[in-house]
Point group: C2
Chain length 430, copies 2
């Protein structure tokens, strides 16, 4: 379509690389080349400078310069020598400096707190599921005063982060960053939790509180919706491994979703995307804790399931795990009431899942939170409902899978994101 | 956080621009610089080579080379001279060659066919709403044989495109590309319409049919869901102008949506995203034309509205515009039954809209198709329903607006997309 002969040749003659770089071009190239080198060593290390040069097409002198920067920044380290390739000298091997840095992810939940620290390669340094952080006396839904107190105390979360940072420092690791995942609406720009009703948080400046507790303004702190962080982790190395489009649906007290489309989190204009819990898809008889009627959460939240499956249990008084374990135990024992309730639950889940699959055509739908443990019983009716209500043939290629990262997903995703950010920041830091 | 001193300085010394470019870097730079030049002239033309050089930071010789390529490819043209700036010579002005090329967009619909041709600047060459293309005898929903016939004949669409291409050729314009928008599931890679039930199309190789009719394998043909193309147009210059996140909901016989998030169409893994019509959010009593129950389309499609608002009219026998005009006329006249039905319709629309807004947090929700004409009566109840069912404060910043491009939106978006593609292809063509 386009004639490339004369004009193209003329342009090639006139605009050699040095000319075409221009002023802005130089810095951009530097970042680009640094990213090339890092990406190669992250993916293929340990490897020598010569290997990096061959794989990236960069000049050896350029690679040597970039590697020097990265070693000095504490992100690369030398590790023995490689056998000489062909006639060359033996090369020093390079790899990520996994012993000297770590990123921390924390999921704050009304039922538990999950913490994960990872090294530069994304391998866990530690990961734990702890009791909820400093629970304050329970209050009715949504009436907690702005930012002060609620079911989970923000100050207790900040204290926990400081304690974990100290643990990493004692191990000789630099803290690359902290990521907080919370079940609610988050202003990711400012790190303020706008509304996390089940935590009792309204307009809580979570990033500022954590940074204050750390007493180190240089450690970046990000706050995000828990399901957003979880879908990143599941797509990186969990139930949606390798998927570019995935939806993670998590259910505990509330129901939320993280949406990944073509490798990016769908956030919407103010970061509020993924509020599936309050999609008005149930009947008017479904009264939600938020005061509305018809919310999906009102019929697929754990409270609703407990009432139907095990009305004899004192659900409000039981800890989260105890409820799930009781249901799983009874289901395994063949309790007819529980099995019928889980079948009903699976169909109601499938109704909302069909909305998501019709609307977003994901490659994988991941069931997280308590849906993970209940998947053996809920998945068959859920799949049947999907088959009945999804327009695209063969569910549009969508696989439905329980989470493989379980309660650690959001914390893991947050920590990994801070590693990525540290690398990305490095690309622009010189 | 990162020490940039010694190592950074060393790297800067060792990796000058020429070195750092490497082999892969040259071609990439060339594309990048070509894009810079084109983007500037598209946005700010007419302008001189010197202005382009100053604005982009490129060397004047480089700009001259690139401009030469673009003039030769028929995309730029010279247009008079600019007054000398400072001590420089007067410069020849450059602008897009708007007289010599055009792209064509066609929306195929069961009720009408919309056609739009635009020049390189995106200005319309012509735009028309025509009767449906070669309607075949109506068949029951979904039983049309694979690709052969249905309510709209694919061959008639191909014939129409050939005719329009001839018209552009007669005006001395090169056809940059054709975009077809259809209400249904499209495999955008292959240009095959998988399922457009209201057209009666199943597995119709629409791109191949159109290319065949044109008899010119060099003209790119793309096929996409109509609402995907429409949301691009509305965000470029319609009701969602400037929005990076928008959802376009269109209703005629069926209901569909185009989803734009951070400037990109959300397609999902197989391009089936946006199937809002069959979200199971209505009650079991809502029987849909697709054979399912509970589909949103079953309660917000035009057929459902006509039954409730004007049961005296012979809806199935009336053309699309006649139905809408009858409703609008009666609503204006204060017909109580029609007004009550439109209020009810608005609330049902709002139910589904609340699902979309909770899930996607768009900046703008655009009502297209027949929703546009009915907006004066449907918008207030729709907004009330949104206020009642969206969790984010102030609807998460979402504005709800009727389409400003009307039935031309998808055709306009398709034509504009082919112009963008022609520019993008040029970036990589040398």
């Amino acid at each position: 379509m386009v004639a490339g002969g004369g004009a193209g040749a003329r342009a090639r003659g006139e605009t050699g690389p040095a000319l075409a770089v221009g002023r802005a071009g130089t810095a951009e190239l530097r970042r680009h080349n640094r990213a090339l080198v890092l990406r190669h060593i992250r993916a293929h290390g340990p490897c020598s400078r010569a290997t990096v040069a061959a794989a990236t097409g960069l000049a050896k002198a350029a690679v040597t310069g970039i590697v020097g920067e990265l070693v000095e920044a504490g992100l690369l380290t030398e590790t023995g020598t490689a056998p000489a390739a062909g006639r060359g000298r033996p090369g020093t091997l390079l790899r990520l400096a996994d012993e000297t840095a770590a990123a921390l992810g924390v999921e704050v939940n009304v039922d538990y707190t999950a913490v994960v620290a990872v090294d530069l390669s994304g391998r866990p340094v530690f990961s734990e599921v702890l009791p909820p952080a400093g629970p304050a006396p329970a209050r009715p839904y949504g009436v907690s005063p702005g930012g002060a107190a609620g079911r989970v105390r923000p100050g207790a979360v900040a204290d926990l982060v400081r304690e974990l940072a100290g643990r990493l420092r004692d191990e000789g690791r630099r803290l690359l960053g902290v990521a907080l995942g919370v079940p609610g609406l988050v202003d990711t720009e400012s790190g303020v939790v706008r509304d996390a009703p089940n935590l009792g948080w309204r307009d809580v400046p979570a990033a500022r509180l954590v940074a204050g507790a750390l007493g180190d303004g240089d450690v970046p702190v990000l706050v995000d919706n828990d399901a957003n962080l979880a879908v990143l982790a599941e797509a990186a190395g969990g139930a949606a491994r390798g998927a570019r489009s995935a939806v993670y649906v998590t259910g505990t007290v509330g129901v939320g979703a993280g949406i990944l489309m073509e490798g990016r989190i769908v956030r919407g204009v103010r970061g509020y995307a993924g509020e599936v819990g309050h999609m008005p898809i149930a009947g008017a008889e479904a009264r939600c804790g938020c005061g509305r009627t018809g919310c999906w959460e009102a019929v697929v939240g754990l409270d609703s399931l407990m009432r139907r499956a095990a009305p004899d249990l004192p659900a409000p008084a039981l800890p989260y795990r105890a409820k799930i374990e009781a249901l799983v135990e009874r289901a395994r024992a063949g309790d007819g009431r529980v099995l019928a309730a889980l079948d009903h639950h699976g169909r109601r889940l499938g109704r909302g899942a069909a909305v998501l699959v019709n609307l977003l055509n994901p490659e994988v739908l991941v069931l997280g939170g308590d849906f993970t443990d209940l998947a053996p019983w809920c998945l068959p009716p859920l799949r049947a409902e999907l088959a009945a209500h999804v327009l695209a043939p063969a569910l549009g290629g969508c696989a439905v899978r329980p989470s493989t990262l379980g309660p650690l997903a959001a914390a893991q995703g947050g920590a990994a994101r801070q590693v990525d950010r540290a690398f990305a920041a490095l690309h622009t830091a010189f």
